[in-house]
């Protein structure tokens, strides 16, 4: 389908049509992906514990998440008495909506990008910061001590881990000299040793650790530590309020994995297969790794969490950045 003709017939500018089509496609992708990822997570968890995971609903239990989603939609939306109603219901949307913006500049292949911008990386990092706000609002608006403690943890954690994450990303930007994700992929080759992950292994490791922390996944899932905080910041959310947080979590996993793929794993580049397949393959491999972490590592204590960020990741990322800067200057 030609977007040019569509834009002409509608009488609107081409970028607008591109963006709308891109957003609709991404919305479909996010929804479908959440269903798939929840299923995948449960299957992965099952296999790690040597049990089958869901297998009753649909073939291989594939429709289990659909059934769960129907149940979630059918549930009553409850606002806790004494909570701040506006903030309480703003939070799930604040968590969920930025995800679409973050998915826009990602290059799926050399032609397939929903909204190519030359500051794509910056756009993603800026909107990723909104997630903290959402958790903070959810915790504050709930009028619940567990939710509030969860929110406080989320803020401290996100602030601590955003710094090494940015420093790690910055090292890649130093090497490539651009914030355009398409151009960053263009700097890398088909083979693993031509990827930026090979020249920036430390930055890659730091990025993965920070990404796990930023998405509040185990072992850094303190904001929703169920053994201590019931469910953390989303304790009071029922039905689709919780559903949106859930969707946002899985969409965020896609975003951080996609950014890691783009920056360190050669993006859509790879031999034989066409671009989008390589991109998806790498993204889902990273997501599998994150799930693997979850079923291997116990949750960290809060002081351990912050010590790791401030005492190890930030100094290491700084050293890495300095070394990269010197190398770039010399070369």
């Amino acid at each position: 389908m030609n977007l040019h003709t569509l834009a002409k017939s509608l009488g609107v500018a081409l970028p607008l049509v591109q963006m709308v089509v891109g957003l609709v496609a991404l919305a479909a992708f996010v929804g479908l992906n959440a269903v798939l990822l929840v299923w995948m997570e449960r299957k992965v968890a099952g296999h790690f514990q040597r049990r089958p995971g869901p297998y009753e609903v649909g073939p291989w239990g594939l429709l289990q998440t659909v059934a769960d989603a129907v149940k979630l939609v059918a549930k009553q939306l409850f606002t806790p008495p004494g909570g701040d109603r506006t903030l309480f219901w703003t939070a799930p949307f604040t968590a969920f909506l930025p995800v679409f913006v973050m998915l826009l500049p990602l290059p799926w292949s050399h032609t397939l990008t929903a909204f190519p911008v030359n500051l794509g990386l910056l756009l993603i990092l800026a909107f990723a910061g909104l997630n903290v706000l959402a958790l903070c609002l959810a915790g504050w608006g709930s009028n619940n001590k567990w939710a509030l403690i969860g929110a406080a943890r989320a803020v401290a954690q996100s602030v601590a881990y955003e710094i090494p994450l940015l420093l790690a990303v910055l090292a890649v930007v130093f090497l490539t000299g651009t914030l355009d994700l398409g151009l960053i992929v263009a700097c890398q080759g088909d083979m693993p040793w031509e990827w930026l992950g090979a020249s920036q292994p430390l930055a890659f490791v730091i990025y993965v650790v920070c990404a796990v922390a930023e998405t509040n996944r185990a072992p850094f899932d303190l904001p929703e530590a169920e053994s201590e905080l019931t469910a953390g910041f989303h304790t009071e959310y029922s039905g689709m309020g919780f559903g949106l947080f859930f969707l946002a979590e899985y969409a965020n996993m896609i975003v951080v994995s996609a950014v890691a793929t783009t920056l360190f794993l050669g993006g859509w580049k790879g031999p034989v297969l066409p671009g989008p397949w390589w991109f998806l393959l790498k993204v889902y491999a990273l997501i599998f790794l994150i799930m693997w972490f979850r079923w291997t590592y116990p949750r960290t204590r809060f002081d351990q969490l912050l010590n790791l960020a401030w005492k190890w990741l930030i100094p290491l990322a700084l050293v890495n950045l300095l070394a990269t800067a010197v190398l770039v200057e010399l070369a």
Partner: protein, 240 residues
């Protein structure tokens, strides 16, 4: 130096993370343990501790090995076992057998009033002697097996091996009532452990279910043994 040590320690911890991933990864690749239950069932229920059930004699699976020594009744902490000796026991060794428990009771210096204790426990302890004789005493802890054999031997009066194979020799004592109050049973397994003739075992019936509490307050284990022997002589399942 301290800084270097710290770095070395951290590197070691980092390696442990990799080891952890390998452990879980290995487990993921191994075959699953879960049995898809309604379609398949586990092959062996050997380790399952169901309710207590009687073991049949080798020659006659419908008749229990039980010699009515009352050790299970006495040792049961929940007092949920009721054993009654069958009345129509063969008459010849009757007087001797009747006298034997009393003799052992007298021989035991630490013997207490067992009928009173049985009342305290709430269990029904019905000895064969009806003339107010005290029943066989509970053996001291740690000496279960030999003490359990002693009354049987005494009952045999000169018949060697009576203690080893009480079931084979002319059934002097056989239970007429053997009922278990499963609503009280705590499944401690003491009765299975103390039984001198291995007449008790755990059932492997995992489908034990009923519509009322009363269904399990007086389980007739003799009837269950007969049903088992009649329905399927080799299987360990209770035919309900």
């Amino acid at each position: 130096m301290q800084c270097l040590d710290s770095v070395r320690k951290q590197a070691k911890s980092l390696w442990s993370l990799v080891v952890g991933l390998r452990v879980t990864g290995d487990n993921m690749l191994r075959p699953q343990i879960t049995v898809h239950y309604p379609r398949r069932t586990v092959e062996s229920l050997e380790g399952y501790r169901g309710h207590v059930q009687l073991v049949g004699k080798p020659g006659d699976p419908a008749e229990p090995r039980c010699i009515c020594c009352m050790m299970c009744v006495n040792s049961c902490p929940s007092a949920c076992i009721t054993v009654q000796v069958k009345e129509e026991a063969p008459p010849p060794p009757d007087p001797a057998a009747a006298a034997a428990p009393a003799a052992t009771a007298k021989a035991d210096a630490g013997a207490t009033d067992w009928s009173e204790r049985a009342q305290v426990h709430g269990g029904r302890l019905i000895p064969k002697t009806r003339d107010g004789q005290v029943p066989p005493p509970e053996p001291p802890a740690g000496a279960d097996k030999p003490a359990g054999k002693a009354p049987a031997k005494a009952a045999g009066k000169g018949e060697d091996k009576a203690g080893d194979k009480p079931a084979k020799k002319a059934a002097k004592k056989a239970p007429g009532v053997w009922s278990l109050d499963f609503t009280l049973c705590s499944l401690c397994g003491t009765c299975v452990a103390v039984c001198p003739v291995d007449s008790l075992e755990y059932s492997s019936n995992v489908y034990l279910a009923g519509r009322s509490r009363e269904a399990f307050s007086g389980m007739d284990l003799l009837a269950r043994l007969r049903a088992r022997a009649g329905a399927a002589p080799t299987s360990g399942e209770v035919a309900e």
